[in-house]
């Protein structure tokens, strides 16, 4: 125990000291190699210019190196794997992609992913917007927003465990402890095994992500709503617009770019959805999505690195354009203000 703590302490000291040493040392070396107080003015000026060109790279260097090792190299490796057989020895061309195209599970996963994409970002953004508007004028609005924001702090697995209790099913004759079944039986209905209802079970899983992400949408959109000039709303009021018209003609257009950023951020998240499905159903009862399918092929049943990698590449290609657009939009937003 003591040894572990000491070991951790030593590691931290070494890491932080190493970073400090690197930045200080490399800077010192640079100053030494190209001294600013050179003999004649011309070379001093030249040395300063060289310093200015090199210094950013010295500071960026470690980050760039880590990024390449942990991000760029794995991408290249995955692309390479996706063109090879299950063990990664034999080049098989596009066979893995061709397999995926005809595979029922893959098609189902794509379908489910699209379903998630269609429902979750829209629902989170819409609910976030409505909650943000409704809580804006209330004295307890901030408390409400904090409560709605809280699930964001819960891990997907943790949230799934909570919701497993919501959807819990007990056999006939036993008391239903799941709140959903408790409500259903209270109103005289029959208890259901919610997470195994084909097709609809997808929506029960989506509800969990909506529960988690609505707080995110609410907080961002509430901040944007605060930024709307109050007098444009007053002018619209005098111009005879009712509350709904003010909402969709005056408020929403003024925070349109923020709505898009929230929407796309959640979209990227949804494309990578994995934990909830794994925890709730483990892809059973037709709830599989691409990330779970990839995981299954890659690490279960002996592992097929080729097919797993091919699915991973499909996910990446799907996420990339939204990601790029999202970053560009966020940059524009910052420039605009």
């Amino acid at each position: 125990m003591i040894a572990q703590v000491l070991y951790a302490f030593f590691t931290v000291v070494l890491g932080v000291g190493g970073c400090f040493g690197y930045f200080y040392g490399s800077n010192w070396l640079l100053d030494r190699t190209f001294p600013a107080n050179a003999n004649n003015d011309a070379s001093a000026v030249r040395n300063l210019r060289v310093q200015a060109n090199i210094r950013p790279w010295l500071f960026l260097g470690p980050a760039l190196l880590l990024l390449s090792v942990y991000l760029i190299f794995p991408v290249i490796q995955t692309v390479w794997l996706s063109f090879h057989d299950r063990a990664g020895d034999q080049f098989v061309g596009l066979a893995n992609y061709k397999w995926a195209f005809y595979d029922d599970q893959f098609r189902l996963s794509i379908f489910n992913n699209i379903l998630w994409l269609a429902v979750v970002p829209a629902l989170c953004t819409l609910m976030g917007l409505i909650i943000a508007v409704l809580t804006d004028r209330l004295w307890w609005g901030n408390l409400a927003k904090s409560l709605i924001f809280m699930p964001l702090a819960i891990s997907f697995v943790g949230a799934s465990v909570i919701w497993k209790f919501v959807y819990d099913y007990r056999g006939a004759g036993q008391q239903q402890i799941g709140i959903l079944n408790a409500i259903v039986t209270y109103f005289g209905g029959d208890p259901q095994v919610w997470i195994s209802l084909p097709f609809w079970n997808n929506f029960f899983l989506m509800a969990i992500l909506v529960w988690i992400q609505t707080g995110f949408a609410t907080v961002i959109l509430a901040a944007a709503l605060r930024g709307i000039p109050e007098d444009t709303l007053e002018a619209a009021n005098i111009d005879g617009a009712g509350p709904f018209k003010i909402f969709y003609r005056i408020m929403v257009p003024q925070i349109y770019s923020t709505i898009l950023v929230v929407w796309t951020t959640i979209t990227v998240l949804v494309l990578k959805i994995f934990d909830i499905v794994l925890t709730m159903t483990n892809s059973q009862w037709n709830t599989s999505v691409l990330a779970n399918l990839m995981f299954d092929w890659m690490f279960r049943g002996g592992g097929d690195f080729g097919r797993g990698a091919a699915i991973a590449i499909v996910i990446m290609v799907a996420v990339l354009p939204i990601m790029i657009w999202n970053i560009r939009q966020a940059n524009n937003e910052q420039k605009g203000h």
Binding site: E234, A235, I238, D239
Partner: protein, 333 residues
């Protein structure tokens, strides 16, 4: 045509009373200016008339109908905001036409009306632009166009020129005055802290201080017969000089007020004499700052001045232009 009648209007935010028992009769077609220092409640009073703020007590009538509980859009008023309050995502055309759209007018009629207003305000070639592509003066014109297009009976202006630079302010002041001439039946209420705007534009000025009406009258009435030290000091530029002590006592007043242009110079010593501290030469006028035993006095001389800094000056107020104020700072007749 619409008159506005305020009867015993009070307005409080929590325990802070902003408007204190204001009664006011604004005639139909009048150009009324509310003027006063920051925080005197002039904007709050305007917002109460518009309906954006509710009055705490009192009666508010527009066009002889009590409108206390009538929403802003139904009061027959239009408002021009200090920040213009244009809808940033709508073109100039849509900005001006929004109120008509809300009234449910057919598209063709909206187009006709908006284009007519655009022409009137020289905005025709800007109708498709967004507000951010307009200059300050053009934005202000769009805001005014938004008010005109509805054919409102009452226009409310909330410090509309304070975001413009000095040159543009003079120009827009003229344009608003012209607008008033073109719409003789429209009642206009205009809020400003700038007494020059008040003097130049108003039919009648309402001077407010700390939520109370101090005096109501035409610009020249206020200039010539201010009823209190506050109004006397607020109207006119440079400010009126206030003199206490012996010169005031001689006239049986606590304070006498003399405008800078109402001094004469005397060769022989007078009650009010001092040394010339500093001179501002504006070309058309010179302002002389004379330090006397009753404080710093401002004297206006037409054209250049012959006096030099440090010179001793004997000042004599022109008797018929002296304002006398009593113990409670109100005017003595």
């Amino acid at each position: 045509m619409a008159n506005i009648k305020l009867t015993n209007i009070n307005k409080s935010y929590g325990s802070a009373q902003i408007i204190k028992d204001v009664s006011l009769d604004i005639k139909s077609g009048e150009f009324i200016v509310f003027v006063g220092p920051s925080g005197c409640g002039k904007s709050t009073l305007l917002r109460s008339i518009s309906g954006l703020d509710q009055v705490t007590s009192g009666t508010l009538e527009i066009d002889n109908a009590v409108v206390n509980d009538v929403p802003p859009s139904k009061r027959g008023i239009a408002m021009v905001f200090q920040s213009y309050a244009l809808y940033p995502h709508m073109s100039v055309f849509e900005n001006i036409g929004f109120a008509l759209e809300n009234q449910g007018l057919p598209r063709a009629e909206i187009k006709k009306k908006v284009e007519a207003v655009g022409e009137m305000l020289q905005l025709t070639s800007y109708l498709t632009r967004l507000p951010k592509a307009l200059s300050g003066g053009q934005r202000q014109r769009v805001a005014i166009g938004r008010a005109i297009v509805r054919g409102a009976k009452v226009f409310l202006f909330d410090e509309p020129l304070s975001n413009l630079d000095a040159a543009l302010r003079v120009q827009m002041r003229m344009e608003i005055a012209k607008l008033k001439r073109d719409l003789p039946n429209t009642t206009m209420v205009y809020v400003t802290h700038d007494q020059v705007e008040a003097m130049t534009m108003a039919d009648r000025i309402v001077v407010l201080q700390a939520g109370r009406v101090m005096q109501v009258g035409t610009p020249m009435e206020l200039y010539e017969n201010p009823n209190s030290v506050f109004v006397a000091g607020f109207i006119g530029s440079p400010k009126m000089n206030f003199i206490t002590g012996l010169p005031a006592e001689k006239l049986k007043a606590k304070t006498i007020g003399v405008r800078p242009e109402h001094f004469e110079f005397s060769k022989t010593p007078t009650d009010i004499s001092g040394t010339l501290d500093y001179t501002e030469v504006l070309g058309s006028d010179s302002f002389l700052y004379v330090s006397t035993s009753t404080g710093m006095l401002t004297v206006r001389e037409p054209g250049r001045t012959q006096y030099k800094t440090g010179q001793k000056l004997n000042l004599k107020p022109i008797a018929e232009h002296v304002h006398r104020f009593g113990q409670d700072d109100s005017s003595l007749k």
